[in-house]
């Protein structure tokens, strides 16, 4: 068990760190958006990079935040029935739902994200929302990383719930 315990602790730590790093992209959004506004309106000097940079910073924030948000159980649930269940039944429900509603979808998304990252490297994919044409590969990779961390966090949660369902006690 100590290996499992260590593993889920490590995953938790990764998600927590990801959130703490990812949060600075929120500050970056404020800075870029304000800079573009001030530069354009008061100095007549719009940038060509703000638009794409904003989009990417936002994307990084959401994706890097996905596992942090899962770690802190902040993804919205409709808990009309769920909240009435005992802790044990909640864990059982989450175990079943994870197997059907989380892992198949998210593992496929992760697989696709990896394939498209490789594709992006091969064709030197760029973004063309503006004529700045920044490379798309770094973002494609962060997107895949975000999904990887989310899948890992899902795994950690699954192990916790499963252990609790089987043994009737918390793993940690």
């Amino acid at each position: 068990m100590s290996f499992l315990r260590k593993m889920i602790k490590t995953i938790d730590m990764i998600s927590e760190k990801a959130g703490q790093v990812g949060k600075w992209f929120a500050v970056l959004l404020v800075l870029i958006g304000s800079y573009e506004t001030i530069s354009r309106h008061f100095f007549g000097a719009p940038t060509i990079w703000a638009y794409d940079s904003l989009c990417m910073a936002g994307g990084v924030l959401y994706l890097i935040g996905a596992s942090y948000t899962y770690l802190h159980n902040s993804h919205t649930r409709v808990d009309i029935i769920y909240s009435q269940l005992s802790e044990h039944k909640q864990a059982l429900m989450d175990v079943i739902c994870s197997l059907i509603l989380f892992f198949p979808l998210m593992i496929v998304m992760l697989k696709m994200a990896i394939e498209w990252s490789i594709k992006a490297i091969k064709v030197n994919e760029v973004m063309f929302n503006s004529f700045w044409y920044p490379p798309a590969t770094p973002y494609r990779i962060v997107f895949a990383l975000g999904l990887l961390m989310l899948v890992l966090q899902g795994l950690a949660k699954f192990i916790r719930d499963f252990y609790f369902v089987i043994k009737g006690e918390k793993i940690d």
Binding site: R40, H41, G44, A45, P46, I48, A50, Y51, V123, E125, V126, M127, F128, N129, S130, F131, Y133, A136
Partner: protein, 334 residues
């Protein structure tokens, strides 16, 4: 088609296998390109006697708008009608056969595509992808409005520092010419003009722009065939899906695409002609772009594309030079 055992009446009944394609425009539903795309799909279904049913979808309903080609490549869609430009992410030269400064205007562009090797070059550009096009599949749009503007453009001096919303290579070329180009979504143009975020902008063809009520926010309308002589749209088809079709259905697909892409072009030219009158009636002052601006733009665009030809893959230079040479030959005749 498979032979089935004779039916009770005696006559052998041919059971025809029905093929279903999904095809997407790039939307929105009211856009002429989407309307003509839908008409083309219906026409193929009808002309094939229902053997090939092409289900039309509005852009953005299956895959995100402008991502149609990736979906055709993956076989998610079998056909699509979109701007080559939206594939700049993987093919830098796709921007050449698109809305761009110094490009070929409508009739010349279609002629180049159908007879001057354009369709072949585009297929070469897409090599390695499960996607094809063919002559007749390109529909040039009438030249885009140069600018809707609040500022009167009298010489190059007026371009300096002009807060203009422009996208694509045209935006980059204008920036090199000294404009302060602003990047905002097309849906924000109206309000951005009204509130002074921008002084001028390009959006789409005259007819579309009239429907957007841009006369209410821009007293001046500038026309010129230099910034975006055409913003072509092209039908793309999944190679495997096309090759699996019986010969007669292939012919139907080619013929209907040819018919409807040409029809859209004529329709839009007609609409644009009407739209100019509507703008004038509504009090918009319509002008030709001063020649020094046109000349500066043409020169800057040429410099820009020559530079790019030197650094991009060889196919870029091939397409650029083919278009340039055809343009020179075309202008010598006209």
């Amino acid at each position: 088609a498979k032979d089935e055992p004779a039916a009770a009446g005696g006559e052998p009944v041919q059971k025809v296998e029905k093929i279903v394609w999904k095809s997407s425009g790039h939307g929105p539903a009211t856009d002429p390109s989407q309307i003509f795309h839908d008409k083309c799909c219906e026409a193929i279904t009808l002309a094939s006697g229902g053997r090939l049913e092409v289900k039309p979808f509005v852009g953005g309903s299956i895959v995100p708008a402008y991502k149609e080609l990736d979906a055709i490549n993956e076989g998610v869609l079998q056909m699509g009608y979109t701007c080559p430009m939206y594939n700049l992410d993987k093919w830098p030269s796709a921007g050449l056969i698109s809305s761009r400064p110094g490009g070929l205007p409508g009739e010349a562009l279609r002629t180049w595509f159908n007879y001057g090797g354009g369709a072949d070059l585009m297929n070469e550009m897409m090599e390695g992808y499960n996607v094809m096009t063919f002559p007749g599949a390109l529909s040039p749009l009438p030249e885009e409005v140069f600018f809707h503007s609040k500022v009167k453009l009298e010489s190059m001096a007026d371009i300096q520092g002009l807060k203009a919303r422009c996208m694509g290579d045209g935006g980059e070329v204008l920036k090199r010419m000294g404009a302060a180009t602003v990047i905002i979504p097309g849906s924000e143009c109206y309000e951005a003009m009204q509130r002074g975020t921008i002084d001028a902008f390009e959006y789409s063809t005259l007819a579309t722009n009239w429907n957007m009520h841009f006369n209410e926010v821009a007293p001046y309308l500038y026309l010129s065939p230099t910034r975006a002589p055409s913003d072509p749209q092209v039908f793309f088809v999944n190679k495997d899906a096309f090759n699996e079709l019986p010969k007669d259905l292939q012919e139907i697909v080619r013929a209907e695409i040819d018919k409807w892409s040409q029809a859209q072009h004529e329709y839009l030219v007609f609409e644009s002609v009407n739209a100019v009158d509507k703008f004038k009636e509504a009090g918009t002052e319509v002008y030709k772009v001063p020649s020094d601006i046109e000349e500066a733009l043409t020169a800057e665009a040429a410099a820009f594309y020559e530079e790019k030809s030197a650094t991009e893959d060889p196919i870029f230079g091939k397409i650029y030079n083919s278009m340039k040479e055809f343009g020179i030959a075309y202008n010598a005749v006209h």
